[in-house]
Amino acid sequence: MSDSKASLPIIDHPEVNRRRFLKTAGATLGLAAWAAAMKPLLELTPEVNADEFLQKHYRELTPEQKTVVFKRLEEETKEEYNADVTISDPQPMDNVLFGYALNLSACIGCRKCAEACHIENNHDRASNNSYIRVFEMDMGGIDFEKGNANYDHPVPAPGKYYMPVQCQQCENAPCVTACPIEATWKEKDGIVVVDYNWCIGCRYCEAACPYHARRFNWEKPEIPAEEVNPNQSYLSNRIRPQGVMEKCTFCLHRTREGRLPACLEACPTGARVFGNLLDPDSEIRWVIENKRTFVLKEELGTRPRFFYYFDE
């Protein structure tokens, strides 16, 4: 046995020893070079720490653990953005299913909603990010191929109408199915949320979304301290970490407390209608029952809870 296994000989010989020495030296040098190449990893932001690393999924956190996590996040925001913020955790209400409707006859394409979203949700200032994209469309059809989101002229322009698009909070959300780690899910009030501290940033949800509703934090968001919105919630508008997905949450930190979304409040023409789809007396129900509403890409079977309608 001992004889037969020596088919790859290790030989006791000066030449071999010299080789072994050179190999060891080479391997050591290689390791050192490897360590040097990986050096940028040591300059990571302080937000990558042991507590963050070990943090459990939002839905597995006990109330006590949540208190600790929120406190840590508040401290980190103070440290990194020099802003005093409160991170709350409003829960979905019973018998509430949020829906949104938008009157395309009233929208003038001023992008006030996009701007309000930018401020309310603590978006990165440099990229001018917002969860809403407003498309300038040609009259006579709903063809996004002829749409333009980068228009730069006084509105409304003749022959055009305007179509703001944000997360449709789908009943059958393709992004939720796609996520390999349940970092995004649908809450019982119909809002699709992301646990920014669980997401690994694979962007499969972004590929899966048919509405271009998801955004990725390509770098750490930068916001001047005085511009930070201090009223934050864990699942919505707190400042997101680098490298994770984010999306419109119908401003759940406002709407779950009985207020309206920031985009609605900012709209100067009253084109936006928000409310509880389960409440028969709500304005949104009236719009759905009395107007000819439609949803985007109905044929995909995503069943959006964001409705569009024309007034006349």
Partner: protein, 441 residues
């Protein structure tokens, strides 16, 4: 010299098998890292490129994915493109396993381990390509079933993680077991590897099918949302995989003492001929459906082949790919391709590069252009993305070189000779305790 026909009694063998295997790995490392000067030059260059890639990746983790040229419109780029190709490369190895085990091709049997080695290196490359695409690689453990939160069976990505890792383990087992048995001088026990070989056939097909399902299951991306995607992936994999194996075999034949019959390569070329025709047929079928129907489904293809809205970043890529694929296919059909000449090498290189573009830049990127709301935002990889991708390839080739070298050594026992070829003088041959072993059959 005899084969070790009399293993010791079972109990001591069981206790020592781990130690023996560790000893084997230690010696294998020794042998695999020994070579002539050009071996070291090659390894140092590959290691250097891998270092450049590692450094670029570390910068990306620090500064964010902003250092790539991806955007919210084109949210996957070169990394996922390369991932798709590498999965195909890994799956292609099965085209040696099928002739060897299902059709009992004796000569293929002797070299089938090369295909399995290529599969191991390719799986490592595809896994790395996904890891570098993560915005938060530090949260990798969220993907581990049981510890993290594994969205199985809903998310196709979880299926992909299972099949890719499974395929890696199966191939590591087969290659490790066969080499170890040869090293021990024993005949491999079919019970310990043949079931895994058959499993690997189904598994190889599953890895590329599920990788296609990642894309074609997305209803919001019409360009990918076609039932033809998985068959197309397989057909192209059965070109790129065997082509890569033919190149590996040529390198082994020229640079090692591992000699083998020309028949396996010829079998592979015949497989490539059929697969490439099927691949091109399906590509043309896809193109016809897209352009003849027109409308939304055609807009990505329009951008890919001809450009649209004044944007045409992918047009040169795609026509290069078409040229390489068609010329490569024609070269494979020439009689010269069946001889050990350079025609087949050129054909292999053409088809590998052609399919790399077709499955990567030509398939992943146009899925995002135009975007789901028909915005045309272009993409071309940043220098960081190129460095990271080159680093992954260098690492893969490094692993492959070591594996092939080890295979050549174990199968030919030239390890002792390699060690001493340069300055042979003074070596006491009697110190070399090695015995030749009959080939596995």
């Amino acid at each position: 010299m005899v084969e070790a026909q009399n293993p010791p009694s079972p109990a001591p063998q069981n206790t020592s098998v781990v130690l023996n295997y560790l000893g084997f790995l230690r010696r294998a490392t020794g042998v695999a890292t020994d070579g002539k000067w050009y071996f070291y030059v090659w390894m140092i260059i590959m290691f250097g490129i891998a270092l450049v890639g590692a450094n670029a990746w570390a910068q990306q983790v620090r500064d964010g994915m902003i250092v790539t040229n991806m955007s919210d419109h084109v949210s996957w780029g070169l990394y996922i493109a390369n991932f798709t190709f590498c999965v195909g490369l890994a799956a292609g190895g099965v085209m040696m396993v099928i002739p060897a085990y299902l059709y009992d091709d004796e000569e293929m049997h002797q070299v089938v381990i090369i295909g399995e080695a290529v599969a191991i290196a390719a799986i490592l490359m595809s896994t790395l390509s996904v890891v570098v695409d993560l915005g938060r690689p530090d949260r990798f453990w969220h993907l581990i079933p049981g510890i993290g939160k594994f969205n199985w069976p809903l998310s196709m990505l979880t299926w992909d993680i299972i099949v890719l890792n499974g395929y890696l383990l199966i191939n590591l087992h087969i290659v490790g077991y066969l080499l170890y048995m040869r090293y021990l001088g024993r005949k491999p026990n079919p019970k310990w590897y043949v079931p895994f070989v058959f499993l690997s056939i189904f598994w190889a097909i599953s890895i590329h099918t599920i990788t296609a399902f990642l894309y074609c299951g997305l209803g919001g991306r019409p360009f990918w949302n076609t039932a033809l995607l998985a068959p197309r992936f397989l057909a192209s994999a059965f070109v790129s995989g065997p082509a890569f194996i033919i190149l590996s075999m040529r390198v082994m034949r020229l640079l090692t003492d591992f000699h083998f019959s020309p028949k396996p390569a010829n079998t592979l070329i015949r497989i490539i001929r059929v697969s490439m025709c099927v691949n091109l047929l399906m590509l043309f079928s896809e193109i016809f459906t897209l352009f003849y129907t027109g409308g939304t489904h055609a807009s990505s293809a329009q951008y890919l082949f001809f450009g649209s809205h004044g944007a045409n970043g992918l047009v040169p890529w795609m026509w290069t790919s078409m040229f390489l694929n068609i010329v490569g296919a024609c070269l494979f059909f020439t009689p010269a391709a069946l001889r050990r000449e350079n025609t087949r090498i050129v054909a292999c290189l053409f088809c590998i590069v052609g399919i790399w573009i077709e499955k990567g830049m030509g398939l992943i990127i146009p899925g995002f252009i135009p975007s789901t709301l028909h915005e045309v935002v272009e993409y071309s990889p940043s220098i960081i993305e190129w460095k990271v991708t080159a680093g992954i390839w260098a690492f893969g080739l490094l692993v492959l070189t070591l594996l092939l070298k080890l295979i050549a050594s174990v199968f030919t026992y030239d390890s002792s000779r390699t060690i001493t070829t340069e300055q042979n003088a003074g070596l006491d041959e009697t110190n070399i305790k090695s015995i030749p072993v009959e080939t596995i059959s």
